[in-house]
């Protein structure tokens, strides 16, 4: 019987999770065009392909930052203290949907949603409790908030002041990336143009008042979670980055005044090498764009600093323990890709809010990579790999082709209004699902190696009790605050919204007067209008 010929392979083609075809082997030919000095450089040097610091993790490990928040401010505060006690080095706040969309907990649309998938914040009183006993001059805080970012940030600044921490000592990040909301995450409130004004107002306020704060975290994470491929995540995120830089310049800021405070946030999916190449390509593209296209002079403007979260969409409800392994691989890719901070998903996140046990394992995964695996001992250990360098170049080229396409459509905002990104992402999501169902892509425990005993997972639930307590506190704040001051402050917000002054200042006054999130957003909704998504399929 004739055996398989020597060249036979198991499959006709080998593809990444993004559908990219991978060759059998890569050699010098694959990187013949690569110029070491121009395209790679040394770590800590332009174009930063190998990392933004010369010493990378030999100097300082990445920040281990687990996204958390649920129920009331008290419950979330307890979780933060738990995480800090277990060695976490930064906080990351998850808000509930009403907060993300700028509704108070007592709004009719908030029913059933309060505290469910994040913490409910209505007023400064909630924020004070959220950070009780946590010194804001020593912990950096990342807040995943977009449409109402200016308001939540103002609350944070106000809490800092109450704790006696001056603004210039506060460190952290607000996500504040509204463009990707229109593309993928969809928690927008206002139309794109007034939204961009809010963003540039925070840039200016940050540059003047809170210089160590990252005023935006330009996020590919959600674009990827919505179904985009690796290159779409890369291209759309950086295209958004370019749009923010343009907006900042148009608002009258000097590029080097705000560009060093721009930060990024990527997804780390399960396809190991493609992800590593994506992170490396991102740094190179950004450095070149900032220096060559926008004429930035400060090297800090050229450096792409990023947070990474392992891919929530790669987790499975089936055989949830497997998620620990997936997350470990994804976290490793992020570290080999040179991330500045990292969130590792908990194994039960495909089902509900993570339990404490699951969060601990997720955090331990990072600690294990940092302390045991040895991958941190040298900078960019995969640099020079034929495969990784070729893939890095490929992703860069493809991302640039997307930039051209977006420019032809008139820029990011017109392309959003035409539904370009939404369609690209939905197409990719559907293609992926079809590939999984056709068996072209394997998902262990879902379309192969299924079965085995089901593991009961203890889920954390947020009960109606939390909602009740939140509503009580909101009612009390409304009762006890000085109505006259609130009304005056809201009037100021409205006036400034109509004009051109920086909105951060009147918003800060309003939160200090204990105006609610919903009240301030209500004024802005009236002035700016609300965005409705029109083109989708």
């Amino acid at each position: 019987m004739a055996g398989k010929s020597e060249g036979a392979e198991r499959k006709e083609s080998f593809i990444t999770v993004s559908g990219r075809e991978i060759e059998r082997v890569y050699g010098p030919d694959a990187i013949a065009e690569l110029d070491h000095a121009q395209d790679l450089g040394e770590p800590g040097e332009y174009p930063y392909t190998r990392g933004i610091h010369p010493t990378m993790y030999r100097g300082r490990l990445w920040t281990m930052r687990q996204f958390a928040g649920f129920g009331t401010a008290e419950e979330s505060n307890a979780r933060y203290r738990f995480l800090l006690e277990h060695g976490q080095t930064g906080l990351s706040v998850a808000f509930d949907f009403p907060t993300l969309l700028g509704y108070d907990s007592d709004h009719p649309r908030a029913e059933g949603e309060v505290g469910k998938l994040g913490v409910a914040i209505d007023t400064l009183a909630d924020m004070e409790i959220l950070f009780q006993g946590i010194p804001l001059d020593r912990v950096s805080t990342s807040m995943t908030i977009n449409a109402p970012a200016a308001i939540l940030w103002a609350m944070y600044v106000a809490v800092g002041e109450k704790q006696g921490v001056p603004r210039d000592r506060l460190t952290g990040t607000i996500q504040n990336d509204i463009l990707k909301e229109y593309m993928a995450q969809k928690t927008f409130v206002f139309p794109p143009r007034p939204s961009m004004r809010l963003v540039t107002d925070t840039f200016a306020f940050g540059a003047r008042e809170v210089p160590r704060w990252n005023t935006i975290s330009i996020s590919g994470y959600h674009i990827r979670e919505a179904g985009a491929t690796a290159v779409q995540e890369l291209a759309f995120t950086l295209a958004n980055g370019r749009e923010y830089v343009r907006a900042g310049i148009e608002a009258g800021l000097r590029v080097d005044e705000f560009a060093p405070r721009l930060s990024f946030f990527f997804n780390s999916h399960v396809d190991f090498f493609e992800e590593i190449a994506k992170f490396r390509a991102a740094r190179r593209i950004w450095a070149r764009q900032m220096r060559e296209h926008f004429g930035a002079k400060d090297p800090r403007s050229w450096m792409l600093r990023f947070h990474t979260q392992t891919a929530g969409c790669s987790l499975t409800a089936q055989q949830p323990e497997n998620n620990i392994v997936r997350t470990a691989l994804e976290a490793l890719a992020a570290v080999l890709g040179g991330t500045q901070s990292l969130h590792t998903n908990s194994m039960d996140e495909a089902m509900a809010l993570p339990s404490e046990d699951a969060v601990r394992i997720a955090l331990r995964t990072q600690q294990l990579i940092a302390e045991e695996s040895g991958v941190v001992n040298t900078v960019d250990p995969l640099g020079g790999s034929y495969f990784v360098e070729a893939l890095t170049c490929q992703l860069e080229q493809e991302a640039l082709a997307y930039f051209e396409k977006i420019d032809r459509l008139g820029g990011v905002i017109p392309a959003i209004e035409m539904g370009f990104f939404q369609r690209e992402i939905a197409d990719a999501a559907y293609r992926y699902q079809r590939r999984v169902e056709a068996g072209e892509l394997t998902v262990v425990g879902v379309n192969r190696y299924t079965g085995g005993p089901a593991t009961p997972i203890r889920l954390l639930r947020v009960g109606p009790e939390s909602q009740r307590r939140q509503l009580e506190r909101l009612a009390r704040v409304r009762r006890e605050r000085d109505e006259l001051t609130v009304r005056h402050a809201l009037r100021r917000v409205r006036e400034v919204a109509r004009g051109r002054e920086n909105l951060m200042y009147p918003i800060l006054e309003a939160v200090q007067a204990y105006a609610t999130l919903g009240e301030i957003m209500g004024v802005l909704r009236e002035e700016f209008g609300e965005y409705r998504e029109e083109a989708i399929f």
């Binding site: 008139g410 209008g529 409705r532 998504e533 029109e534 083109a535 399929f537």
Partner: protein
């Protein structure tokens, strides 16, 4: 047919179910439409047409809201294409009508073309009648918007609004080629975009060059809107109403009604006559005979069709002569 009193009372579920019956060509559908027909003829129908991506649905949404504010019960018929490959469809217009969709006083029905060309669904005429009978005094009819000439809409709509937008390039050509003549109101939507002036100018020029519609004929104007935020929509509303005023003068409405009746009548004759003829030909075997002669090349298809028609006339000519009252009785059913 307990649907009928409920539909006449304006109940949404009854109207919705009646539309389904008509769409699916359910056996009861003909009788349903026949019995409701005397209750129709009250509604104003506004057609909205234009190339894809110009914002037809958003404009429709804005118009619906304004007619509601005047207290009118509104019906919206929005047509989307059926996939020729799978027979399925994603009906996305409703999604873009979020302002009106929140109001139960606006009845929105999404239809798929189900193979019909011309930008509408086969059931469109009947769906309009059902909405009309259910008391929807104002009906907005939005075509597919494939970019091809979608002229059927003018046969259902008292007023046809043609929507364009700047920056579409070739689509202006499509408007030029097909639908310039059918528009009573022209709208350049997304007028805050670059190139709006040019699009308006081009449309105005094309209107100027169009054949004169006669001395006191309606003169279409080109209006600007930003439907997304409502800018200019009131002006469209005024123009539509002005067109009604015009239609109501000098017996024009009667002319329109006659034309509309002729269109539907002719359409029904075509489909019924063809269906009867084919059924007869199949049953009698004449079909196979003629087909084989076409296959043998002894008859060309056109001559074959004529032969079929002749045979049919002969077979029925005798019977029709014997019982001249057939047609009259049928009408009384």
């Amino acid at each position: 047919m307990d649907l009928i009193p409920r539909l006449l009372a304006g109940e949404s579920p009854a109207l919705a179910r009646a539309i389904t019956l008509v769409e699916n060509q359910h056996p009861d559908a003909r009788e349903l439409v026949a019995r409701l027909y005397p209750h129709t003829g009250q509604a104003r129908v506004i057609g909205i047409t234009g190339p894809p991506g110009v914002g037809k649905s958003t404009l429709t949404d804005q118009l619906a809201v304004r007619f509601r504010q005047e207290g009118m019960p509104v019906g919206v018929v929005a047509v989307d294409p059926t996939s020729p490959f799978t027979g399925g469809a994603i009906l996305g217009d409703r999604l873009r009508m979020t302002r009106a969709a929140g109001d139960p006083g606006v009845f929105i029905r999404s239809l798929a073309t189900r193979g019909q060309l011309g930008g509408l669904s086969r059931a469109t005429g009947d769906v309009i009648k059902l909405m009309d009978a259910a008391g929807r005094r104002l009906i907005l009819l939005e075509t597919v918007g494939t970019g091809q000439a979608e002229i059927d809409v003018m046969n259902y709509a008292h007023t046809t609004v043609v929507v364009a937008a700047p920056g579409l390039g070739d689509e202006i050509q499509a408007i030029k080629a097909g639908i310039m003549e059918i528009g009573d109101v022209f709208v350049v939507n997304k007028a805050d975009r670059e190139g709006a002036d040019r699009t308006v100018a081009e449309l105005e020029m094309m209107l100027d060059m169009a054949p004169d519609r006669g001395g006191d004929a309606w003169k279409p104007r080109v209006l600007r809107t930003v439907a997304r935020d409502g800018t200019g929509v009131d002006e469209v509303l005024r123009e539509v109403k002005a067109h009604w005023g015009h239609l109501e003068q000098a017996g024009r409405l009667q002319v329109w009604r006659r034309r509309q009746a002729e269109f539907e009548l002719a359409g029904m004759v075509r489909s019924l006559a063809a269906a009867r003829l084919l059924e007869w030909a199949h049953q009698t075997g004449v079909w196979a005979e003629v087909r084989d002669r076409v296959v043998e090349r002894s008859l060309d298809p056109c001559a074959g069709a004529e032969l079929l028609l002749r045979e049919y006339r002969e077979a029925f000519g005798r019977r029709a002569a014997k019982s001249p009252g057939t047609a009259g009785r049928r009408g009384e059913v």
